[in-house]
């Protein structure tokens, strides 16, 4: 919101009033309902509360000054460098296309959904006052207050239980389970409560929860802060699993997830937070894959960081005359069978690139779908995933452990011989 603040009508009979005190300084963000100034009217001194979110620009009527009803008293908006203004800034631009990083895309989605629907609440460990351990959520607490955005004890069982209970009682909780590895602690409420309730109530009571979690390796976080939990939950009917690769999808899918009426696990790869991209604010429907690069010779199906690796591999392969198509699944459950099958019917070769142990992974599920639906079109199909072992800490060990662009390109070249 940009423009100006005018002298509000603070009493029925007032014609003018005096500003006794400004409670915000130029450049300071304010949220709807926050006190902006103390104003003396003909009847009393009242606190003037903001009617929208914004950033205070220049003060036009200083303390002690008088203005007539409707006269401008301050401007709103303008250049603000303070980090606290991040949310307010975001909201100035969120409507149109703009270039932001993945982290900001997540925050914009949360901000816009919190603003859009009063039933949305957001909680987790260090998400409110501290703004998140990966600095994804600063400013939300300041904007929406502690009733809707709050910090919790380090208690994943309680977090997930609170999400379930509040969701079936009319709220739309978004919960951050800091690292995906900690989902093991929250699993009971997710698997035995949240995913079952829609069914058990005969589709009468929805369970609108989003569990956000940071996942993935490559950050030198070791065996227990680097895992990819998608496959642990792939076989649980009643939940959806979302795995975005770009800022636009992160924002569009998170908005869709928050609006979805049943539980969604929303995974954010820690190596993608700094990735930039154009974002237009469109909601992206869950369960739709996207062909991010067209090609004729082979289909590379992947998700999250794998999409960036696959595109890099496809670039390298183009130099060898191999035209690779890259399909970003975006949602692992439900799988977009149609897009998968259409691509394989075109290229007749399939490699699925998964960050995660090869045994029991989602790549196997993708292969199964393609075999069931497009066996006749298939000349080759295989998986590139991580070995069946825990993720090592040491940089050379971890780098060798993960499938990267070189390995993807090399395997595709080898299989063509």
């Amino acid at each position: 919101m940009t423009g100006e603040l005018t002298m509000p009508r603070l009493s029925d009979s007032m014609e003018q009033a005096t500003i006794t005190r400004w409670l915000k300084s130029p450049g300071e963000p304010f949220a709807r309902g926050e006190a902006l100034a103390e104003i003396d009217t003909d009847k009393a001194t009242v606190v003037y509360e903001a009617e929208f979110d914004g950033v205070l620009g220049s003060i036009l009527v200083p303390e002690g000054g008088t203005a007539r009803l409707g006269e401008p008293i301050a401007t709103v908006g303008g250049d603000v460098s303070a980090t606290r203004s991040a949310v307010a800034e975001t909201r100035h631009t969120a409507g149109g296309a703009h270039r932001i990083d993945f982290r900001t895309a997540i925050r914009e989605a949360l901000d816009e959904e919190l603003a859009r629907d009063d039933r949305v609440i957001f909680f987790g460990e260090d998400v409110a006052m501290a703004g998140g351990v990966f600095a994804v959520t600063p400013g939300l607490y300041e904007t929406y207050g502690g009733e809707r955005v709050f910090d919790t004890p380090i208690s994943e069982l309680a977090l997930a239980g609170a999400a379930f209970g509040s969701a079936v009682s009319g709220l739309r909780p978004v919960v951050e389970i800091m690292f995906g590895d900690f989902l093991t602690l929250a699993m009971d409420s997710i698997v035995n409560q949240a995913s079952k309730y829609w069914f058990l109530t005969q589709e009468q009571v929805p369970v609108p929860i989003v569990f956000r979690s940071v996942v993935g390796a490559g950050g030198r976080f070791g065996a227990i802060h680097s895992q990819m939990p998608a496959s642990w939950l792939l076989g649980v009917p009643g939940i959806k699993i979302v795995c975005p690769a770009t800022p636009a999808d992160a924002k569009g899918l998170l908005k869709a997830a928050i609006r979805d009426d049943n539980p969604v696990l929303f995974f954010e790869h820690k190596r993608l937070y700094g990735v930039e991209g154009d974002v237009d604010g469109e909601v992206v429907p869950l369960g739709t894959a996207k062909v991010v690069r067209e090609g004729d010779d082979i289909t590379i199906v992947t998700a999250m960081k794998g999409v960036h690796d696959a595109v890099a591999a496809a670039d390298a392969l183009a130099g060898d005359g191999i035209s690779a198509e890259v399909v970003d699944l975006r949602t692992l459950r439900p799988l977009d069978r149609e897009t998968l099958v259409a691509s394989v019917e075109k290229t007749s070769r399939l490699v699925v690139v998964e960050e995660g142990p090869i045994t029991g992974g989602w790549a196997g599920e993708v292969l199964a779908v393609v075999v069931e639906d497009a066996l006749g079109s298939l000349d080759d199909a295989w998986r590139i995933a991580t070995a069946d072992g825990p993720i090592p800490y040491s940089p050379p060990l971890e780098d060798a452990f993960l499938p990267g662009p070189e390995r993807i390109a090399d395997e595709i070249r080898m299989r063509r011989r």
């Binding site: 004890p153 309680a158 977090l159 609170a162 209970g165 509040s166 079936v168 009682s169 058990l200 005969q202």
Partner: protein, 324 residues
């Protein structure tokens, strides 16, 4: 609240009509459980059941102080809580029988019943799950002045859910009433063997007000619940009630209860909550004929319920929805 307080201080129940209603409700729960047991033995109720017989005063006493804004989260031993909150007994029975007319269309069975319209968020099949659910329900009810009640057994106080949620509710001042039904046994194990220290001390350690009451006396449960609900509704955070009770049957259908010491069950049966309330009502001058009439009415209702339930249609498999 004030009535409950005078009731404890005084010699008379505050309202005979009210207690006649509670008497009827407790009889219904007992009769329902007997019926479920007999239908189970005949192969009409499947899987397993966990019966509430002996603990009726707890669910009935707590439910008697709740209002329309409040919600309950119960355990897999949840038939009594469902009936106490007002779930239609026919629909509950039909659910046990797996029929389309069941409260959840036959999808839930004995352990997973829910009926939000009756204020029962659900019965949860994992020990401690009810506490988790109530924590979140309270988060939502805080907006409307409601209170969430978590029912759980003594076994649940050793689960992570109990500690995490108790602390979570206290620091966020959530309107939760935690009702621990201490029936002496976690499944087949005496609770003292697996539980360090007194149960209520766990709540007291977190400055959560705690009461221990005779769970075989519906008026004592009612008074304690009224105090706890008032505390929670006032915005002061959770309150804890430990009700000392006893189950007259095994843990589940596969458990004959042989681990109990000789004579223990008989001693507790002398404190049967239905007989305790009946005796109290009689001592206050309620006509035995009136009470006998209620006994006969409930028995007849259950008989009819049984016949209707066994004649009810089965659900169509095709009506199960596809999941994402």
């Amino acid at each position: 609240m004030s009535r409950a307080a005078t009731e404890l201080a005084g010699d008379r129940l505050e309202d005979d009509e009210l207690y006649l209603g509670l008497y009827r409700r407790m009889l219904l729960i007992r009769g329902f459980e007997d019926l479920v047991q007999s239908l189970f033995l005949q192969g009409e109720v499947y899987g397993t059941t966990h019966l509430y017989s002996g603990q009726e005063a707890v669910a009935t006493g707590v439910a008697s102080v709740l209002d329309e804004r409040d919600r309950g989260c119960a355990t897999y031993r949840g038939h009594g809580h469902a009936l106490a909150l007002g779930v239609d007994p026919q629909k509950l029975l039909d659910e046990m029988l797996g029929r389309a007319t069941g409260i959840n269309g036959g999808r839930a069975g004995s352990m997973n019943v829910n009926s939000p319209a009756d204020r029962l968020i659900g019965c949860f099949g994992i020990v401690g799950g009810s506490i988790a659910a109530a924590t979140g329900v309270a988060l939502a009810l805080k907006r409307v002045g409601g209170v969430a009640v978590a029912y759980f057994g003594d076994g649940a106080v050793n689960q992570g859910y109990f500690f995490e949620c108790l602390n979570f509710c206290q620091v966020l001042r959530l309107p939760v009433v935690l009702v621990c039904e201490n029936n002496g046994y976690g499944e087949y194990t005496p609770f003292e063997v697996v539980t360090a220290g007194p149960i209520r001390a766990r709540a007291e350690a977190m400055d959560v007000p705690a009461q221990t009451v005779d769970g075989m006396s519906v008026w004592e449960v009612r008074a304690a619940a009224a105090r706890a609900v008032a505390h929670a509704r006032a915005g002061a955070g959770p309150a804890f009630v430990e009700a000392i009770t006893y189950r007259f049957v095994g843990h589940s259908r596969s458990d004959p209860g042989r681990y109990r010491p000789e004579g223990e069950l008989d001693r507790w049966r002398q404190r049967d909550p239905i007989l305790v309330l009946r005796g109290r009502l009689q001592s206050e001058g309620v006509d035995s004929e009136l009470l006998d009439g209620i006994d006969r009415d409930v028995a007849r209702e259950l008989e009819e319920m049984r016949d209707r339930g066994l004649a009810a249609p089965w659900p169509e498999p095709s009506r199960s929805p596809e999941f994402a």
